[in-house]
């Protein structure tokens, strides 16, 4: 009886060894691909960390990124991949990553996954909710003062975010990371079709069709602006003149412009005017502008939690005089953000993401 028991124990032990050993062998084999950053965006450089287990027993190990093959010569090994459209000439919206290792015993192990590059940072990449407001220098000192005071009215009233900068505009702010960590950027000054004049000289004109503000904006340089306000004439003009690009078209990343920078690369909403803006100055004991009230009302609605597009359009309708061609407010946005207030937190999206492609909308005021 004891012998029987002993035999049974041996039997179980041998069975266990036979079952577990292959599992242990396979557990010790395979290819592992990790990447940094964890959630890469279009424009970023991605580092793939490839680790091949029992590399010395591998016949070969390879990694394919969107079909491009890399032979693995050592383990661990790093593979660098640049998704910057300016560097690569390609606009990557996703990366198909596949790794494969074949062992001397003929066993093949693989790993594959897809990286979506069209989802950017969440609404705020840091805990601070901040905004900056910029006034363009102008040869007309009255005009400059008027804009300064209007901006000051907003600064005095708006409390949902903390103020980062209230200063003079500069063309350089459109090509550097001035918007880094700021959720709302406001520019006041002169404008033209998809252009903003960031100073008093002709060289200060900035063509918005050549810059970008979202968190995918420029390779290796991120701004992460959610809301962009352009208090300037004609900048957001929707008219389709010959030779002039309607602002809405900048939304699209067509084959022709896909490699260029675009203002909508991750921005949620852009607010401005279809044509001209006009302010009425009241000069009694002292002079003041209805523009001051406009900025106050806009700030109040934002603070109250009204959705951003309506805060802009309501403030215009209530506080500015609207005529044909004057003070016709416009807001461009993605449908995803239609009802968002300044307190909402959402991801950013670009071309290639279903929440971006074909999801651009515009709200505007017209005289009927």
């Amino acid at each position: 009886m004891r012998v029987y028991r002993k035999n049974r124990t041996v039997f179980y032990f041998r069975t266990l060894i036979l079952l577990v050993f292959p599992l242990l062998f396979f557990y010790g084999c395979g290819i592992q691909i990790g990447h940094e950053p964890d959630f890469p965006r279009q424009g970023e450089k991605i580092t793939f960390n490839v680790r091949v287990k029992k590399f010395s027993k591998a016949e070969y190990a390879k990694v394919w990124i969107n079909g491009d093959e890399t032979l693995i010569n050592q383990s661990p090994q790093k593979i660098y991949f640049d998704t910057c459209k300016f560097q690569t000439g390609k606009y990557y919206t996703k990366l198909n990553v596949k790794g494969e290792v074949k062992y001397n015993n003929g066993k093949i192990k693989d790993q594959d996954y897809t990286l979506d590059l069209t989802t950017g940072w969440a609404d705020r990449e840091d805990t601070a909710q901040t905004y900056s407001i910029f006034v363009a220098h102008d040869n007309d000192s009255d005009f400059e003062t008027m804009l300064d005071e209007a901006a000051a009215e907003f600064v005095d009233r708006f409390s949902a975010y903390s103020k980062s900068l209230f200063t003079w505009a500069s063309p350089g702010y459109f090509t550097t990371g001035i918007g880094q960590g700021r959720d709302l950027l406001i520019f006041l000054g002169h404008g033209n079709h998809h252009k903003y004049k960031a100073g008093s000289h002709n060289s200060d004109w900035v063509d918005l069709s050549t810059v970008a503000f979202g968190d995918f904006s420029i390779c290796d340089m991120y701004t992460d602006v959610e809301y962009l306000v352009l208090f300037s004439c004609d900048t957001l003009c929707m008219d389709n003149y010959s030779g002039v690009t309607p602002f809405g078209e900048l939304w699209f990343n067509n084959h022709n412009n896909r490699l260029q920078k675009r203002p909508f690369m991750g921005v949620h909403e852009i607010l401005g005017f279809n044509h001209f803006w006009t302010i009425t100055e009241t000069c009694f004991l002292a002079c003041s502008d209805d523009g001051d009230d406009f900025w106050g009302a806009f700030a109040d609605y934002l603070d109250g939690g009204t959705c951003v597009r309506l805060a802009w359009l309501w403030a215009i309708m209530d506080e500015l005089s609207i005529e044909v061609g004057e003070n016709e407010g416009v807001v461009f946005y993605l449908l995803e953000y239609e009802n968002d207030s300044v307190y909402d937190t959402k991801n950013d999206y670009i071309h290639g993401n279903p929440k971006y492609d074909g999801m651009g909308y515009v709200n505007y005021i017209v005289v009927n």
């Binding site: 006034v135 040869n139 007309d140 009255d142 005009f143 008027m146 300064d148 000051a152 009215e153 600064v155 005095d156 009233r157 900068l165 209230f166 003079w168 500069s170 002169h190 033209n192 300037s232 004439c233 389709n240 809405g248 078209e249 001209f276 006009t278 302010i279 009425t280 100055e281 009241t282 000069c283 009694f284 004991l285 002079c287 003041s288 502008d289 106050g296 109040d300 609605y301 603070d303 109250g304 939690g305 009204t306 959705c307 309506l310 309501w314 309708m317 209530d318 005089s321 609207i322 004057e326 461009f332 009802n339 651009g360 909308y361 709200n363 505007y364 005021i365 017209v366 005289v367 009927n368």
Partner: protein, 325 residues
């Protein structure tokens, strides 16, 4: 030496003229201003008690639109105003007539905004449901007028009444690629009631009603600087003289690099905190080359009355721009 001195003197005189802009006041413009200054216009004290009665009605009506005392109500209280916002799922349509269709049934919670200040009452529903329908302007006006009159939100008298109406559309359009222009849908239609006293427009008074063209319900109502007047307080104030008025107008544009011409001169009234007084509105156009960039326009409203005790309320604090980084 003497010649050089004269030359420098001429340059010094001409230099400011060269950099300063001008406002071109034609003979016709000057004649029009002179005629206006010869036209006596009454100023009126505001009737604060009647205003309180009307605002009480508006506040009571806004109070019925939702539970403003609930936990979900956000309040912003500052010295001069109170702004409240509540989020609700239930839309109780505001229908001025009994023969109206059903209101909008929201699929998601929506916000309502109520703002109270010394001279304003504002109520908005954040319901922006796009529709292909559009109401005729006269129908929008009728809805708005019925709403205001039935609720007693606007005290009209023989001399103080709704003068005319203006109409706006709030539209939504899908952004399509070049060449494809989808039809715009309407979010709301706005009727603006402009005020007249003694046949003259009050520049800063208006009442606005927003109507949804599909359900025909009222989505928003705003009473902006429309305070009843004390009819017995009519008084013709002393005017500034022609020279003083011209000086004021010129001064408003003198620092601009552009030259302006007058587009429109309008005699009207302006409501301050305590009084309504005669004022002059100037709309201008810049004189620029055909393809040059047009500057933003600054229209001007100046008081014609002097020696009146006008209260413009607390002036807003003006923080100045910081130095560039």
């Amino acid at each position: 030496m003497k010649k050089q001195f004269i030359l420098i003197l001429i340059i010094l005189i001409l230099y400011p003229m060269a950099i300063n802009a001008d406002l071109v006041l034609s003979d016709k413009d000057q004649k029009e201003i002179k005629e206006i200054l010869n036209k006596p216009v009454n100023s009126y004290q505001l009737d604060i008690k009647k205003k309180a009665d009307i605002f009480k009605k508006i506040d009571a009506w806004i109070g019925q639109q939702g539970d403003w005392s609930g936990k979900g109500v956000k309040q912003i209280k500052r010295d001069e105003y109170l702004l409240r916002r509540l989020v609700t799922r239930k839309n109780s349509p505001i229908l001025p007539g009994a023969d109206m269709p059903d209101g909008i049934v929201p699929k998601v919670p929506f916000g309502m905004i109520a703002l109270q200040s010394d001279a304003k009452r504002i109520f908005y529903k954040e319901l922006t449901i796009p529709t292909s329908k559009k109401m005729a302007n006269d129908k929008v006006e009728e809805r708005g007028r019925t709403f205001i009159e039935r609720n007693g939100f606007c005290l009209q008298t023989e001399i103080d009444k709704i003068m005319r109406t203006r109409f706006l559309l709030l539209q939504r359009q899908k952004i399509m690629e070049q060449g494809v222009q989808p039809r715009a849908k309407t979010l709301s239609q706005e009727v603006i009631f402009v005020r007249e006293i003694d046949g003259l427009e009050v520049f800063n008074s208006k009442q606005v009603v927003s109507v949804h063209p599909d359900s025909e319900e009222i989505l928003a109502y705003r009473s902006l600087n429309w305070t009843p007047i004390d009819n017995d307080s009519a008084k013709i104030p002393a005017y500034f003289d022609f020279k003083e008025v011209i000086e004021k107008i010129k001064k408003a544009y003198e620092k601009s690099p552009y030259t302006f011409e007058i587009k429109k001169i309008q005699l009207g009234l302006y409501q301050a905190k305590n009084i309504i007084f005669p004022a002059l509105k100037i709309c201008v156009n810049p004189i620029i080359e055909e393809n040059a960039n047009k500057p933003p326009l600054k229209n001007l409203v100046i008081s014609l009355a002097k020696d009146l005790n006008i209260d413009f309320g607390e002036s807003d604090p003006k923080s100045r721009i910081e130095k560039s980084p």
